[in-house]
């Protein structure tokens, strides 16, 4: 039974609020995780003072960001200087809206109690009608070009960084912004092409359809995820391009502190800086979501227990896979040094791009066979 319009809007608003809340909490605790894990890798403790295991550190950081002085240097171009961090964060948060994180949740049918004065379909109708069953997908909105939408929104995210660099009117910021835009445009091509192999195999742009195509097992025990289904090269291209897209080590040239002070956010302080920070970590989570959906079978995993547990386990598996991906990110950060800029460009254009095209051609031949 499809939802009536008013309930549809209400459900969408509630879903958006929950997803944004969870996402921003996850962003805060990814920062905590990163500080903790990198600390342990470098034989330090990481945050320990605020709360048990430093668990309240994100809250302390947030309060600090809110109360710090928000400096706007006199030489900046003000409208864009203020708009740039907003653009970065808005585009980063928007892409979560099409990501499915589980199957659907069914409730009803149930009858409206007699004492309710009306129900929404027939106002002023005195209760007693049977409504439902309604099925609500674990996703804010299911668009059939979900993957294109994510790629488009992340490609818009580069404007936040580029405009921040330009509007700061500072040579280090400008160089950081230029590096960021060149790097993101270059690696976007390899990133997009690495995903085409998966698209050919599943025959759809819809993220839900791509995940559904990955159910089941090979020989009864290996899950039929795309990474085990000939797309491991595609996954590694995606992984490397995703590091470059999110400006993380070993590709964090736009904010290389030994050369560029802090790159494009040199002039930013307080909450404006925090917005860039949040955008970066949100992008990490989005990239992890896409990797999980496309290569690691999304929310597929062993199901057991009572019906309510069975309904929520897929969401748990999805979150667990993203956690592994984020841990890998932090692990790489704690391990690898930074590339030189010419190495970055030649790696992207001369190695990743040809490899992605070869993977695409091989997949096409394999599917057409």
């Amino acid at each position: 039974m499809p939802l009536p319009l008013s309930i549809f809007i209400l459900v969408s608003v509630i879903k958006s609020a929950i997803v944004l809340g969870v996402l921003l909490t996850a962003v805060a605790y990814t920062v905590w995780l990163e500080r903790k894990v990198v600390g342990h890798m470098q034989n330090r403790w990481g945050p320990t003072r605020v709360g048990p295991f430093g668990l309240l550190q994100p809250a302390a950081d947030g309060i600090k960001f809110l109360f710090k002085e928000d400096l706007t240097p006199p030489h900046v171009y003000k409208p864009l200087f203020i708009a740039a961090p907003m653009m970065a964060l808005i585009f980063a948060l928007t892409s979560i809206s099409v990501i499915p994180f589980g199957n659907s949740f069914t409730f009803g049918p149930f009858s409206v109690p007699q004492f309710l004065p009306f129900h929404y379909e027939m106002p002023f109708h005195w209760g007693g009608a049977v409504i439902g069953p309604y099925s609500i997908p674990f996703q804010i909105t299911d668009v059939n070009i979900g993957l294109l939408m994510i790629l488009g929104v992340t490609s818009m995210g580069v404007y936040g960084v580029a405009l921040a660099g330009w509007s700061s009117n500072n040579k280090y910021s400008l160089l950081g912004g230029l590096r960021a835009s060149a790097q993101m445009v270059s690696y976007e091509i390899a990133l997009g092409l690495s995903l085409v192999g998966v698209l050919i195999q599943s025959g759809s742009f819809s993220l839900r359809a791509i995940v559904d195509a990955q159910g089941g097992h090979f020989w009864g025990f290996i899950p039929r995820w795309n990474i085990f289904h000939w797309q491991f090269i595609g996954f590694f291209i995606y992984l490397m391009a995703a590091y470059a897209e999110t400006n993380r080590i070993p590709f964090d040239l736009p904010e290389a502190e030994t050369e560029l002070v802090a790159g494009y956010h040199t002039e930013y302080s307080a909450m404006k800086f925090a917005m860039f920070f949040m955008a970066e970590y949100t992008n990490m989570i989005t990239v992890g979501c896409v990797a999980t959906l496309l290569f690691f079978g999304g929310w597929h995993g062993p199901l057991f227990g009572p019906p309510l547990v069975q309904a929520l386990l897929p969401v748990f598996w999805f979150a667990a896979k993203i956690f592994c991906f984020l841990f890998l990110y932090i692990w790489v950060r704690g391990t690898l040094p930074r590339f030189r800029y010419d190495q970055l460009m030649s790696f992207g254009w001369k190695f990743l791009l040809p490899l992605a095209i070869a993977n695409l051609v091989a997949t096409a031949i394999f599917v057409a066979w």
């Binding site: 294109l148 790629l151 445009v185």
Partner: protein
């Protein structure tokens, strides 16, 4: 879901597009022009979405708004804005530009007036099935319009080779 308030959204996006387009040619600061062009391109993508062409809308955002405009901005960011702001704006081709604009406008009005004859009703096929949009675009490109598509790709190849030849000091 069935579409809601279609005329409202059409006029909204069309107005955003027109205002963006006018701002592109009237702003002195090239960064402002580029931003206005991005807004116009995004509004155009929204209109594609309303025409049940989600694939074209996605490609419009990824290629134009997210790719080409970044390169535009990339070049503009290296230009000294202060100097170009002080320079007098001039356009020595305004006669030719006016003639071209009037001709194009006349053509649009002519097409709009004779729309029934040029586009008969049976030629307009709107498939509300958005799921088949991507496949539909692909089968059109690789079937009916294969020749034009290949010519376009050849032109692009020539342009790429030209760019490499011009950029490299020594081949």
């Amino acid at each position: 879901m069935t579409p809601v308030a279609t005329p409202f959204f059409f006029y909204l996006f069309a107005a955003i597009m027109l205002i963006g387009g006018i701002l592109v040619i009237t702003r002195k600061n090239p960064v402002h022009s580029a931003l206005a062009l991005i807004v116009a391109l995004l509004a155009q993508a929204s209109i594609y979405l309303m025409l049940y062409a989600p694939f074209v809308a996605g490609v419009q955002i990824i290629l134009y708004a997210g790719g080409i405009m970044v390169l535009f901005l990339f070049v503009i960011m290296l230009v000294s804005i202060e100097r170009s702001m002080k320079e007098r704006q001039f356009n020595s081709q305004w006669v030719a530009g006016t003639v071209a604009a009037v001709a194009l406008g006349g053509l649009f009005i002519a097409v709009y007036a004779k729309a029934e004859k040029i586009f008969p009703h049976h030629a307009i096929r709107i498939t509300p099935d958005e799921l088949l949009n991507t496949q539909g675009v692909a089968s059109m490109l690789y079937g009916q319009y294969m020749f034009a598509f290949e010519i376009a790709s050849l032109l692009l190849l020539v342009a790429i080779i030209g760019a490499v030849v011009m950029a490299k000091k020594r081949i």
